[in-house]
Every structure is written in structure tokens, then in C-alpha cells.
Amino acid sequence: MQPISDGIMSPWEPGVFSLAVYSILVLAFITSQLFLAVWLGEKKWSVEKSRPYECGIIPTGSAYFRYPVPFYMVAIFFLIFDVEGAFIFAWALVYREVGWAGYLQMSFFIVLLLVGLFYIWKHGGLDWRVAYKERYPAGS
């Protein structure tokens, strides 16, 4: 890559004063918005109003409990493959420089990834309802 020559980018000259003014203005604006929103207007408190809304019915039980997340495996797989994808993006940048050797190496890498994906797929790792179906076989 070419070194960045002078004049292409603006010089780094932090102006402390303007930054301070800007910050104060932002803070003042946000504070005024929040204050107006809280202060203006009429508020009436009642038991019904502070109750969670659930289609007009009084909710049953608490909303705070250990919520099962059966699709966490899918989420993790997504993360893993997403990160691996980052290597491929990097390769795209240096595609010409690394030449055929790089191409073969990347192909191998991608094939490995695909093997992994198919392995997960075959074992039902992408079907996040499997856990449910095992727990409650049909007709139970």
C-alpha cells in the first residue's frame, strides 16, 4: 500500500474549546428534552395503569424468570461462521497479491468450513426446535 502523503487528510489539531462548547450544548439539549418530557403534561397514577399490558387481561405469574433460549446454538454457530467470514473478506483485499497459492489455501479453508456446516446440519444443530420435540414427543 502507498504511504499516506501529507495534505490528503486534515491535520490532527484538537480544539479543546470548541469540543467543550459542543459537549455542553449537547448535554444541555438532552437535559432540556428529558426535563420537558418528564415535567410537562398531566400524569395520573393508578393500579391499572401501572400494570403490565397483556391484551387487557391481568397477567399470570412474573415476567422475571429463567427464560429458555433454545436457539442459542444457532446464535453461536452464526457467530462462529461470521468471524470466519472475516478471513474471507481480508482475502478479497489481497486477492491479486497472494495469487493461486492463496486461492488454494482459501478454498481449503472454505471447504473445511462447509464440512463443519454440513456436519452441524446433519446432526440437527440448525434445527432449534429439536430440543422441544425431544422433550415433548408428538401426541403427549
Binding site: 395520573k44 399490558y53 391484551c55 387487557g56 387481561i57 405469574g61 424468570f65
Partner: protein
């Protein structure tokens, strides 16, 4: 001097602020997406392109009360739903406004019945009342404009905004109290002490004698010739069960047997599994309270009852104890022979019991609960015998003859009631249905009664394990409008408007079922022209219903566009309906023996226009939704129902045809001359959500074919029968001769008499088989009016289809089976 300046400046400032705030509020009212019944359909129509509520700045329909400041109470406020209405109102932020839309919400309207609050202003304050039943979309616009005027001209919000003394904003009207600030009298204030007109002839208990119907003569009820298949079934039962089975000698509609209690289940089992043909579907299960039968206590011969010696003997026999206390009626249907069969069994005692047949037909579950709820008859062996339509705290059984029918006869429903009478806790409802306690991983989610995707007041209670629906329970009855009790009070003709409202998107299809039942009973002949007009109207309404289905199904799955498109053609359909009948949702146009008026000038042109453009538009829409990959992915393979299940659960209509059975009453048991039309019965085999959608789209295509044929071959002649004993005469003819004038006078005032007997008739409504079972005791109104709504059977399968799926799938399934609440709860 100084103080007055100080007083003036904030005053001027406040006035200016009032002006600005009111102006902004006026044009940014956010109504809640909240509907109770028919009125909401018109309210929703006001948001579509033709009426375009957006012009008034109120198009932002909010699904949650937290984001809404305008509550449009559109429809009937039921005692069961009133606590929910109150809660939704209270959960809205300040300031908030209320528009009461429609007669029901204003005052109870035509529903002066036990289950309806006689005016929403008894529980929440109301700013604007919009009259109508239902009000047109334009009326909603006017209501909104009146509210905007009220905001600008009377409210002084800035003092409240700046936390100063005084000022007004939002609703400041008081909640009214019946008998104090509003009159409980249906006739208005000032009539106290005068008996309600007609009380002496109205049904109920104690009985009032001397009905003028008794001095009117009618021919006896219709008698049918049994088919050879029916005769052989009679012979087989006779041979196998002997004297335990007694065949009714003459019936008006179908083969009927009386069976003793002890062999009832045996016979039913035989009919379902062994007999040839077998009766696979439990069409209907209901009961009749026989305690007010007139010949039971008032053993007097009356005109039209006895015609030959044979019956006279039977009558003398019966006169000793002509009727049991209750009769349980089972109605079966055979798909093989396209025939029905009725089984009646007598029960004695104040709160008698009989055996449950849930082990023979699973669909009997809800039917038996309904009979228990309405009559107090217990079913032994039923897994969950609890109230189904009325709330659990309800006292009494409304369809018993001694139960008051009018809401105004009962203590008024008040604000305190709406606070105290809460819907049942989700866990309790689930516990009623399932003996096993809920697992610790599960939690309960209420979907409805107020939800944009339940298509009305349906409460789904999902026991969730994460995203998955472990178990699904339904609580219905939030829309119970006492349609059957009303049938026992209104005269035969007066009841027609009530039938419209049983399936408020089905319009004339409801009326057709009802008039066909009564015409079957009294053997009224309908002129050909009237039959063709009826067919045309029924198909127009089928089209209108399926267009709404198409739009809302798409909307349920996240596609907003189809709704706006399909409502355009729906308006075309409703314009034709309005041209012919004068009504939109509720035509009130069919009459016994014909229709109310002849076709108006210009009808053909309007119909031809629709026929010309519709097929092309439909193709366009199909591309838009049916070929959309997201739509397909979300509906294909979802919520499959097998044909066996569908038959067992009494599913009918497009939902049944989506399972692969070509079963359409228009073909199998033709009525109103449907056998003269060429059309196909579309079916699909998969039985999933996509199949249900496909069948309905294809049905629209067939409907437009029928409409085209009806319009092209419209017969000439009378539009109403000349047998004026049973119909309201033509005005022209009425003015010509005295006899017709007398008939007109009698039939309009006290109503005509229908001979003693009973008849069931069902038609293929937009969402399935819609039947009416009319029982007459020879009076000017029905003795018992049973409404068999297709939705009741269809929606009972919902837990079957949705268990094991997710909430998002549940929405798709509800959308696909096309439910409407008044026809489920009636």
C-alpha cells in the same frame, strides 16, 4: 397596576399555548386498534383508501393502549369483556378521549339482552356518540371531526401542562349511572310505571295466555318423503334396537329418532362406526327447554295442529305428558350419502344429567359445555364441564325458559362490576382443561381478547416453553350476543336483522340460512327470481368475506399492502349490495318467501362492472401474496389437519375442503336453486395454512362465475311469494285489495304464525356450514332458535393445530382458518 400586568401576561401566554397545543392535538389523535364487533369492520374500512382517515391525522392505529390517546369503542360491549374495556381505557396515557361508535356501544342498541352492557357510558366516560348499526365509515369521520371541534373549542390544556390550577383536557364527562344520570328504560325517561308494550304476549315465564296466533290458521308444517336410504336406516335401527328407538312419523327436514337415555350412546356409536352409510360428523348438539311448551300445560286443541286420525291418537297419548323437561338434540351428518339424521332424547328433572359423548366425537366437548352453560344439563364423563360462553361467575342458565331475556330486566351493569368481575386467570383456565399441573419451565401468555390478530374477541392462553406453545387453551364467550335467546323473543320476521349480525362479514348468507330453515318448516315456496337474487347476494358476500380474509391474513403475516388493495374491490362489492339492499354489512334484505324489494335500476351494470374487472385483479393479488416467498415459507406445511381429524371435529367449509374432501352444501344438498349454476368446488389435499388460503382464493373465482350466471340469467317474475300468509306483501298489491291489506297489517304488527314443528337448514356460508334449527310452538316467534355457527366447530381445532408451534405460527394459523367471533359465541 403592576399585579394586573403580571396577571395578563401569563394569561395571554396560556391562551396562546392552548391554541398551539389544541391545534397539534386535533390533528394527531392516535386511535387504539380496538374493536368489539361489526362496527370495527366499518371503523377499519375508514382507514382504507376510499375513506382515508389519514386526511384527519388519525390514521396511526396503535395496537397497545400505551401509545394511543383515542379509544373508539366500536361494537357491542359485553358484560364479559367490559372489565377489559375499562382496563384498556385506564392503561392509556393522559389526556385521552373516547368515541362510542354504534348503537350497541351507545345504549345496547338492538341487543337488550342479558349478556350486553346497556351503554358503555356506564363504565367509561364518553365524549362523542356515533349513531348507526353499524355507522358507515363516513360516520366515523364525522365522529372524529366532532371530537376535534370539542378539543379546540372547549379544552384549556396549558394550565394542566404547566402544573397550574384549573384547566381542562381529555374526557371530563362523568361515568353515567343507570337510573340516576341516565334512564334504564328502553323507551327513554318518563315511562316508569307503564308496562313495556308487548309484555303480555312476550314469551318466557310465567306464560301469558291468549296469544292471538291461536286464532290464526296455517297449514301444518311441511312433511318430507324420506329417501330410500333414510328408510333403510330406520329399518336397520328398528331391527337392532327394537322399541328403544322410536322413529318420528313426520318430519319437515330429516330422519328423526327418539331414543331412551340408556341406549343413547350405543345408538350413536352404532351410527358413527357400523351403520351403512355411517354418520361421521356430529353436525350439532344442543338442547331444548320444553317446560314452556303450551300443550304441556295448556292442553287445548289449536288450529293447524291435528289433521288426521292417526296423529290425533298420538296427540292424545302425548297429551298426558307431551314433552319431557328437556330434550337433548344430536344431529349427525353422513358424508357418503349426503344426508342428515336427528336424534332426540328426553331428560327430566330441574338439573338433569346425561352421558357425555366426547369419547365418540371429540368435538362434543364444546357443544356439551355450551348445553351445560345455557341449560344446566350435566354430562357425566365430560373431561371439563364448565361454563364456556358465560363468565364463570355467572348465575343461572340463560336459555332456560324462566331466565330473563332482556338486559334491562336485570340489575344494571356498573363501573364497580367492571372492576370486580375480572376474566379468569390464565392458569385457572388452563387447569380446567388439563389435569396435569403446568411445568416449571412454562409461563402463560394471554393472546387476546384484545389483540389485532385474533380477529375479534378470542382469548388464546398459551403455556409457553420459550418460544414453543406447550399447550393452548381457548376462552371464548367474550362475544356472546344471545342470538339464540333473541330468536325466542323476536317475531319470525324481526329476527332477520339479528341473523345478519351472527357472522357480520357474511351478511345475506346468514339470512339465507335462517329464511331457508323457516321456509322449510312452513313449506313456503320462493319464486325463482327471488332465489336467483339470493344466490347473487350470497356470492357477493362470500366474495366480500374472502377479500377481507385475503387482506387480513396477509396483514397477520406482516404484509400491510394486500389489505389496502382488497378493500378496494370489497367496496365495489358493498356498493352493489348497497344499491340493491340499502345496507352494507347488514343488508336485512331477505324475507320469508323472497326478498324485500325488487332489483333496482342499474344493478346489472354495476354487477357486470365487477365481473369484468375482478378476475384480473384477483390474479394480480395472488401474485402479490400467494407467490411471495415469505408468505409461502410461513404457511406451507404449517398447522396441518388430516381429513379424519376434520370430519371428527365437525370442521366445515373451506377448511374441510383444504383437507381433500369435495364437500360443499351448494353441490351436495343444493338450496335456493344452486343446482342451476355451473361452478366447481375447489379442494386441496395438504390441509395446511397454505391449502386453506388456496381454496379460498379459488372460491372467489367460482363465486364470480356464479354471480355472472345469476346476473345473466336473472329470471323475471315476482320477488316475493304471493302466499301472503307468511310474507310481507308488496305495497302495490297491498293497496289494491283488502285481504292483502289485512295480511300486511297482521304480519307487520303481531307477526305471522309458523305451524308447530321444527326444521334445520344449513347453507354453505363463507366460513363453513351455517345452520339454523327453528323450533316452532305454533306462535308468532320461535320456541327455540338454534344457531349452528361454523366457527364454533372450526376454532375448537385450534389447540390441535397450534400445539408445538410458536406464537408467530399461531397467528398464521388463526389467520388461515378464518374465524369471526359472533358466529363462534353467537
Amino acid at each position: 397596576m403592576e399585579s394586573s400586568v403580571q396577571g395578563k401576561v401569563p394569561g395571554r401566554f396560556l391562551n396562546l399555548a392552548d391554541l398551539v397545543v389544541n391545534w397539534s392535538r386535533k390533528y394527531s389523535l392516535w386511535p387504539m386498534f380496538f374493536g368489539l364487533s361489526c362496527c370495527f369492520v366499518e371503523e377499519a374500512t375508514a382507514f382504507t383508501a376510499r375513506y382515508d382517515l389519514a386526511r384527519f391525522g388519525a390514521e396511526v392505529l396503535r395496537a397497545s393502549p400505551r401509545q394511543a390517546d383515542l379509544l373508539i369503542v366500536s361494537g357491542t360491549v359485553f358484560k364479559k369483556i367490559a372489565p377489559v374495556v375499562l382496563r384498556l381505557y385506564e392503561q392509556m396515557p393522559e389526556p385521552k378521549w373516547v368515541i362510542s361508535m354504534g348503537s350497541c356501544s351507545n345504549s345496547g342498541g338492538m341487543y337488550d339482552v342479558y349478556s350486553v352492557v346497556q351503554g358503555v357510558d356506564q363504565i367509561i366516560p364518553v365524549d362523542v356518540y356515533v349513531p348507526g348499526c353499524p355507522p358507515r365509515p363516513e360516520a366515523v369521520l364525522e365522529g372524529l371531526v366532532i371530537l376535534q371541534d370539542k378539543i379546540v373549542s372547549t379544552e384549556k390544556p396549558s394550565r394542566k401542562i404547566f402544573h397550574m390550577e384549573g384547566g381542562t383536557q381529555g374526557t371530563d364527562r362523568p361515568v353515567l349511572e343507570n337510573g340516576v344520570t341516565k334512564s334504564a328504560d328502553p323507551r327513554g325517561p318518563g315511562y316508569e310505571g307503564l308496562e313495556i308494550r308487548g309484555t303480555s304476549v312476550s314469551p318466557g315465564w310465567p306464560q301469558h295466555w291468549g296469544s292471538r296466533s291461536d286464532i290464526m290458521w296455517t297449514p301444518p308444517a311441511r312433511r318430507i318423503q324420506l329417501s330410500s336410504g333414510d328408510q333403510s336406516i330406520g329399518a336397520v335401527l328398528k331391527e337392532r334396537f327394537g322399541d328403544r328407538v322410536r322413529q318420528e312419523a313426520h318430519t319437515s327436514d330429516m330422519l328423526t329418532f327418539h331414543i331412551e337415555q340408556d341406549s343413547l350412546k350405543e345408538v350413536l356409536r352404532f351410527l358413527k362406526y357400523e351403520s351403512k352409510p355411517n354418520y361421521k360428523r356430529l353436525d350439532d348438539l344442543t338442547a331444548i327447554d320444553e317446560s314452556a311448551r303450551r300443550e304441556r300445560i295448556w292442553n287445548k286443541d289449536f288450529a293447524g295442529a291435528i289433521t288426521d286420525a292417526g296423529e290425533a291418537d298420538a296427540y292424545a297419548q302425548m297429551a298426558k305428558r307431551p314433552y319431557p323437561d328437556f330434550t337433548v338434540v344430536y344431529q349427525l351428518l353422513s358424508f357418503d350419502s349426503a344426508s342428515r339424521l336427528r336424534i332426540k332424547s328426553g331428560l327430566n328433572g330441574a338439573y338433569p344429567a346425561t352421558g357425555s359423548i366426547t369419547d365418540i366425537w371429540p368435538s362434543a366437548n364444546w357443544y356439551e359445555r355450551e348445553v351445560y352453560d345455557m341449560f344446566g344439563i350435566r354430562f357425566e364423563g365430560h373431561p371439563n364441564l364448565s361454563r364456556i360462553l358465560m363468565p364463570q361467575w355467572w348465575e343461572g342458565h340463560p336459555l332456560r325458559k324462566g331466565y330473563p331475556g332482556r338486559g334491562t330486566e336485570m340489575p344494571p351493569y356498573t363501573f364497580a362490576d367492571a372492576r370486580a368481575r375480572q376474566p379468569m386467570d390464565a392458569r385457572e383456565v388452563a387447569a380446567l382443561d388439563h389435569k396435569a399441573p403446568a411445568g416449571e419451565r412454562e409461563f402463560f401468555l394471554n393472546l387476546g381478547p384484545h389483540h389485532t390478530s385474533t380477529h375479534g374477541l378470542l382469548r388464546c392462553i398459551a403455556a409457553l416453553d420459550g418460544e414453543e406453545i406447550r399447550e393452548l387453551d381457548l376462552e371464548i364467550g367474550y362475544h356472546h350476543r344471545a342470538a339464540e335467546k333473541l330468536g325466542e323473543r323476536q317475531t319470525w320476521h324481526q329476527y332477520i336483522p339479528y341473523t345478519d349480525r351472527n357472522d357480520y362479514l357474511g351478511g345475506a348468507c346468514n339470512e339465507l340460512s335462517y329464511v331457508t330453515a323457516v321456509e322449510t318448516l312452513a313449506d313456503i315456496r320462493v319464486p325463482e327470481r327471488a332465489q336467483a337474487i339470493r344466490v347473487m347476494l350470497a356470492e357477493l358476500y362470500r366474495l366480500s368475506n374472502h377479500l377481507v380474509y385475503f387482506g387480513t391474513f396477509g396483514q397477520d403475516l406482516g404484509a400491510m399492502t394486500p389489505n389496502f388493495y382488497t378493500f378496494a374491490e370489497r367496496e365495489m362489492v358493498l356498493d352493489i349490495v348497497e344499491l340493491i339492499t340499502g345496507g352494507r354489512l347488514h343488508p336485512e334484505y331477505l324475507r320469508l318467501g323472497g326478498v324485500a324489494a325488487d332489483l333496482p335500476e342499474g344493478w346489472k351494470h354495476a354487477v357486470d362492472n365487477l365481473v369484468a374487472i375482478f378476475p384480473r385483479r384477483l390474479r394480480e393479488y395472488e401474485k402479490l401474496l400467494g407467490k411471495n416467498p415469505i408468505f409461502v415459507a410461513r404457511t406451507k406445511g404449517l398447522g396441518p389437519m388430516s381429513l379424519e381429524q376434520a370430519m371428527d371435529w365437525g370442521v366445515s367449509g373451506a377448511n374441510l375442503r383444504a383437507c381433500g374432501l369435495e364437500w360443499d352444501l351448494r353441490k351436495k344438498m343444493p338450496y335456493s336453486g344452486y343446482d342451476n349454476y355451473e361452478f366447481e368446488v375447489p379442494t386441496a389435499t395438504e390441509g395446511d395454512c397454505y391449502a386453506r388460503y388456496q381454496v379460498r382464493v379459488e372460491e372467489m373465482r367460482q363465486s364470480i362465475r356464479i354471480i355472472e350466471q345469476a346476473a345473466r340469467n336473472m329470471p323475471s317474475g315476482r320477488h316475493v311469494t304471493d302466499d301472503y300468509r307468511y310474507s310481507i306483501p308488496n305495497r302495490n298489491e297491498m293497496l289494491r285489495d283488502i285481504e292483502t291489506l289485512i295480511h300486511h297489517f297482521i304480519n307487520v304488527t303481531r307477526g305471522m304464525k309458523i305451524p308447530r314443528g321444527e326444521a334445520y337448514a344449513a347453507t354453505e356460508g363463507p366460513r363453513g356450514e351455517h345452520g339454523y334449527y327453528a323450533v316452532s310452538d305454533g306462535l308468532g316467534y320461535a320456541y327455540r332458535m338454534r344457531v349452528r355457527g361454523p366457527g364454533f366447530a372450526n376454532v375448537q381445532t385450534l389447540p390441535l393445530l397450534a400445539t408445538g408451534t410458536s406464537i408467530a405460527d399461531l397467528i398464521a394459523i388463526i389467520g388461515s382458518i378464518d374465524i369471526i367471533l359472533p358466529d363462534i359465541d353467537r
